[in-house]
């Protein structure tokens, strides 16, 4: 099998197989579309609301990416602080774990109340809050487990702390960082939709889902789930592509 077929063709065949199985299961059980929509119900919905889907997908997408960007910046900074200072690590860890343990659905009404009317900001904030934790943890672990010999190689030449960070610690942490980013990108996506669904404000795919729920348009709700899955896949593979570029050496190293 050629590489391209394996990378693209095989996943497409599997997706197709699942759709066929789904269609068959709905038909076989004779389920009406208000109990279980089938894939063939979805296409008309996508066509009917095609501009709405594009607009809402874009709203969900850019706010997810913005939240994730914030999570990368803050998570990396927190990770650096915890990676370099034992005291900071001991002090911050329980705090972060506690914060991460709070179900984010409970945070939505609070955030919506504090920043009332700031829908874009709220949504980005929630995407950030749900996704920075794995990044902070992985960066701190990557930095704190750096073998002392790596540091000594540069320190013995009189290199500054910043040079050691830039030339050794940072690149060496990249595989862990991207591992965490793959988790974080999905989480940020969940965060965005959580805000859009729990505190609807007329924006994003989450809101479209909520409209479907209110108007009892079940095929539309299923269609939104499909669009969300597709967006999630796209975001995930963008991260995978970035990982290839910046940390491809780690993958080859294991081969």
């Amino acid at each position: 099998m050629t590489n391209i077929f394996r990378k693209v063709g095989v996943p497409l065949i599997f997706i197709g197989a699942v759709l066929v199985l789904w269609e068959w299961a709905v038909w076989f059980n004779g389920l009406p579309d208000y109990r279980m929509a089938s894939p063939s119900d979805l296409l008309p919905k996508f066509w009917q609301f095609r501009w709405l889907f594009l607009e809402r997908s874009w709203e969900t997408l850019w706010r997810t990416v913005a939240g994730l960007g914030l999570a990368i910046v803050v998570g990396t900074l927190l990770g650096m602080i915890m990676g370099f200072s034992r005291t900071a690590r001991d002090g911050l860890y329980p705090l972060l774990v506690g914060f991460n343990a709070i179900p984010k659905a409970t945070v939505v009404p609070i955030v919506a109340l504090i920043f009332v009317g700031q829908h874009d900001f709220n949504t980005i904030l929630l995407a950030f809050m749900i996704s920075f934790f794995p990044i902070a943890v992985s960066v701190s672990i990557g930095l704190s487990t750096l073998e002392p010999e790596y540091r000594d190689i540069l320190r013995s030449l009189g290199a500054s702390k910043f040079t050691i960070f830039w030339k050794i610690a940072l690149p060496k942490t990249l595989p862990e960082f991207f591992g965490a980013l793959k988790v974080a990108v999905t989480l940020a996506f969940i965060g965005t939709n959580l805000m859009e669904i729990v505190s609807p404000h007329g924006r994003g795919l989450g809101d479209l889902f909520d409209s479907g729920r209110i108007s009892a348009d079940y095929p539309l709700m299923f269609a939104v789930l499909f669009a969300l899955a597709a967006l999630g896949i796209v975001l995930f593979y963008i991260v995978v592509a970035l990982e290839r570029v910046f940390a491809g050496w780690a993958e080859r190293g294991q081969g």
Partner: protein
């Protein structure tokens, strides 16, 4: 005050602070390394040999005593030092050539980029890594990685090379190969070398003087001058003279470990070793 030696340790005493109180590792250690000579330091496990390298390279400061490098008191790391460890610590995201060039990105060596590249290629050629410049460290064997590590430690023309058991994790034949490479490197470009090792044959084959450290806290218990003139070959290790030296060192290690009564004369052991090498003398 200054020092006439390339490296000189004067009455160095050092202890690590641990949870259960200070752990003394070096006690009144004095060492003298003349310029462009090769000194091997052997001693029982955990006697403070690696501490010694960290003190000489300026990564650590001693509690008491002084470390001199090229007539200057060592207070911080110096770019005139090259280091290599048992773990070759190559950066996986760089090619072999980029790894070798790493020190030039930090040290002001006075070399231009082109000169640095030329030197890197020459060093890689010398250790037999021509053709591997663009490979990643993970694509190389352990011995080849250690060769690349040696090139990196020498790229910035250091006056002093500090080797902390660089051949320790290699198989016997690769190790012997690298010993010969070390002699080749020194023949082309002299430098002062401090080698930490557990291998007595390695110390005798490579060094001009072998220093035996006592058990922890360590002082210089014994110094052996290795007078094998001319270019050394591996066969030199099997002459009666070399075998006697090995037996002598072996005896000193046992004294350092506290297993043998120090009263037994090294000479007696050396003679016995010279006539019929015991298995331990070979080790």
């Amino acid at each position: 005050m200054s020092s006439d030696f390339q490296i000189e340790l004067r009455e160095v005493t050092h202890a690590y602070r641990t949870d259960s109180g200070p752990l003394p590792v070096l006690d009144n250690l004095s060492l003298k390394l003349p310029k462009d000579t090769f000194t091997a330091v052997v001693g029982p496990s955990g006697c403070g040999k690696s501490t010694l390298t960290r003190l000489v390279s300026g990564l650590m400061k001693p509690d008491e005593g002084q470390v001199w490098l090229a007539s200057k008191l060592v207070t911080s790391p110096r770019p005139t030092v090259g280091m290599a460890f048992q773990n070759p610590v190559l950066l996986e995201w760089r090619t072999i050539l980029q790894n070798v060039m790493l020190p030039l990105e930090i040290v002001k060596s006075g070399m231009s980029k082109a000169e640095g590249l030329e030197r890197a290629h020459a060093l890689l050629d010398l250790v037999g890594l021509t053709g591997f410049e663009d490979k990643r460290p993970s694509e190389l064997s352990g011995g080849m990685r250690q060769r690349a590590s040696l090139c990196r430690s020498l790229i910035h023309k250091p006056e002093v090379l500090i080797l902390d058991e660089p051949f320790g994790a290699l198989d016997a034949f690769t190790r012997e190969d690298l010993w010969c490479t070390m002699h080749d490197l020194r023949a082309i470009e002299p430098f002062t070398c401090l080698l930490i090792t557990h291998d007595l044959r390695e110390s005798v084959f490579l060094a001009d003087q072998v220093v035996v450290l006592s058990g922890r806290p360590a002082h210089a218990q014994y110094v052996l001058n290795v007078d094998i003139p001319g270019k050394r070959t591996l066969d030199d290790l099997y002459t009666p003279k070399a075998v006697a030296m090995l037996a002598d060192l072996r005896h000193q290690i046992q004294v350092a470990q506290g297993r043998t009564d120090g009263a037994a004369t090294p000479a007696a052991h050396a003679q016995r070793g010279a006539k019929a090498p015991t298995p331990e003398a070979q080790s």
